[in-house]
Symmetry: C2
Subunit: 170 residues, 2 copies
């Protein structure tokens, strides 16, 4: 559709205005409907460069627009996607030991769990991390899948984690 302000283009303002007038593209509206209907969002991905692959980051950038996921002074505990849970489930290239050295694993969770989900008011379950599946035995890989299957069965009984800095940076 047309730009809200064609004099000075502002991506955030344009998506916000497009959301309000129902002018977002169809694929985004469909994704937002999925989010709206979901009680739990599970993000499954291979960790790329301490973060999500660009295509998943693009989903966050494009789908979680102002007006839909947060609003002026409606962020964090006041975010618009309350009463939803989220879970980051990912595989890594490096071993658990490597990510433990500097506390990297906790630090890299902060932007995703706190900066995105918590900002939108979504509660966060303990992340599910499979370390270096490509470097372990087939048996170990099967164990990883079994453990994930088991966890999924009782996921609804889990309590959200504390999303305060203390959890990440203690």
């Amino acid at each position: 559709g047309h730009l809200h302000n064609s004099e000075a283009f502002n991506y955030g303002v344009e998506t916000w205005e497009a959301y309000k007038r129902g002018g977002l593209s169809k694929d985004l509206v469909e994704e937002q409907e999925k989010v709206q209907e979901a009680d739990l969002l599970i993000f499954q991905f291979p960790l790329f460069w301490f973060s999500m692959p660009a295509i998943l980051k693009g989903w966050m950038d494009r789908v979680l627009v102002q007006g839909f996921a947060y609003d002026l002074s409606k962020a964090y505990d006041g975010g618009l996607l309350q009463d939803k849970l989220s879970l980051f489930s990912f595989t890594t290239g490096g071993s658990k030991e490597k990510y433990a050295i500097r506390g990297d694993i906790r630090y890299l969770l902060w932007p995703m769990q706190h900066g995105i989900m918590h900002f939108c008011g979504v509660k966060v379950l303990e992340p599910h991390i499979c370390y270096a599946p490509e470097n372990v035995s087939e048996e170990k890989r099967k164990e990883m899948l079994t453990a994930w299957t088991q966890r999924l069965k009782t996921l609804w009984k889990e309590e959200p984690i504390d999303c305060s800095p203390e959890w990440y940076f203690k």
Copy 2:
């Protein structure tokens, strides 16, 4: 080109093998040549969700492949892109005060500065952050540009920052 292993597709292995046999697509080779020639990499972007916009994350994902930017046991201080400097220069939506509350600004720098640049052996200069340019006066915006112009003049005299966890999480 053809896949190195068409039985079990592994994105990391495929890009690594493609790099070694000169089989990466032309746009990636051109970006790698720019990186190779550069003494200093400045990444300028608006902060989206505590991180780079997806398109810039995609640049990291696609350009910094194994064999080019790092290799087996050649990472961090042994990374392949040594003797280069980098600088993350970005604008934010929120005010400096908001990012200071939980130490967010330091925490979100970790994946980019440590997890990507330091991993590749690239040294990191102090980030350049313009807080909430859209919410300040035109005069203040001009001051921001002047300050950046001034900093660029003496950038070569700056010392890289300490990329240890202590710098981020003290």
